[in-house]
Amino acid sequence: MIRKNWWKILSILFLLYTVIAGFLGPVPARRILNETIRNLYFHVAMWFCMMILFIVSLVYAVRYLRHNRIGDDIYSVEYARTGIVFGMLGLITGAVWAKYTWGDFWSNDPKQLGAAIALLIYLAYFVLRNSLTDRDKSARISAVYNVFAFAMLFPTIWIIPRLMDSLHPGGQGNPALDTRDIDNRMRLVFWFGAIPGWTLLAIWITTLRIRLRQYALKHELHA
């Protein structure tokens, strides 16, 4: 799928739709949220993207442990890398949103803390990788950490914030968003514009990095 073009064009079309309909399209008027509700298309989509990328990274980590192919390791690490970038974007877009709805960029909300912890966990993954010099060893041990960290991350992001009081939309119940706030017009843009658009873009970025790494590996092997 990497070298095909159709899904890249599709990604651009989805994103054009997201941006145009996201900024110009109709949204329901809600108290406090007002126009910031449009952040759904950007902030929430970033988190969806991050989770998808981390899941893909986990799948490749497991595949590496099973088959010991260095190619799987490259996939795993690059998906995690893009996942971190999207996680950071999610954190920043969330902070900007919080500034206009909660009054502050950072207010130690459980959701914000959970997000920061998730990023720290995956940054530690890269520290671990770089502290190992042997490539096979580094790949294997970071794959083990990847699986372990992912299993510990779920409670952080999905369980702990529900136990504590949060200002985040969907405080009790759904962890990501309050489904009563949005209407069907927004759902259309969100599920058929933002989520596939940003996800495809993330995969596109990742495949470029993977090809670069594969090329470097080949070069190294033949040198």
Binding site: L128, S131, V147, I159
Partner: protein, 217 residues
């Protein structure tokens, strides 16, 4: 429990008795940290007392558990790897570390009562929770020590890998133990208790599955 696990635990305890310097090292670490805390804070109020207690437990755990994997020479590790099953090995290590942390927990609890005073209302409850917490933390750090022992600068790596991962459990433990400081009934502690137990089960299962990949070099 299989006899191999018991033998391995007995070996660890025996080693601890023969190389007492490392045990006393951790003991001195506990005592001096709490003493420094006492000098800095005097006798703090209950939320601070609670927070400090768990932070101390965290640091003690990193120090006490880290040595379990980092101390061993490569040659001896290779020897263990050739004679026993990885699942038995990690299970024995986790149980041993849990016992070690329970001892350290008891000692630091005593020192806290002695130096920082006791704002507790339900002391028995706190002792129970702290023991439970010590075991949970030691399980997570046992596995992380196994990971970190494969890399260089492993002591620093333990903290980098472990601190973000342990936050959810520490938050849960602090909330659970905060019940012990007042007479106010707090709802939902059963589900929190269950969640902690679930965490422990998850860590044990993951360690059993993943450890075999760690130790073949």
């Amino acid at each position: 429990m299989s006899p191999t696990v018991l033998t391995l635990i007995r070996k660890d305890i025996l080693l601890e008795f023969r190389q007492q310097h490392s045990f006393y090292g951790v003991l001195l670490y506990v005592a001096s940290t709490i003493f420094v805390l006492y000098l800095a804070m005097g006798q703090p109020e209950s939320p601070i007392w609670n927070g400090l207690y768990w932070m101390i437990q965290l640091f003690v755990c990193v120090n006490a558990v880290a040595k379990s994997f980092l101390q061993e020479s490569r040659g001896r590790q290779l020897y263990f790897y050739s004679i026993c099953n990885p699942a038995h090995f990690i299970l024995a290590r986790m149980l041993f570390n849990a016992v070690l942390m329970l001892v350290m927990n008891g000692i630091s609890l005593g020192l806290f009562f002695l130096l920082l005073g006791s704002p507790l209302v339900h002391t028995g409850w706190f002792v129970l929770i702290s023991g439970f917490g010590a075991v949970s933390i030691s399980l997570v750090f046992s596995f992380l020590a196994a990971i970190a022992s494969r890399a260089q600068q492993n002591a620093a790596l333990m903290a980098i890998l472990g601190f973000p991962l342990i936050v959810p459990q520490l938050m849960l433990l602090m909330r659970l133990s905060s019940v012990a400081f007042s007479d106010v009934f707090q709802s939902g502690w059963i589900s929190m208790f269950g969640l902690m137990a679930g965490f422990d089960a998850l860590v044990i299962v993951l360690s059993l599955i993943l450890f075999p990949y760690l130790w073949k070099d």
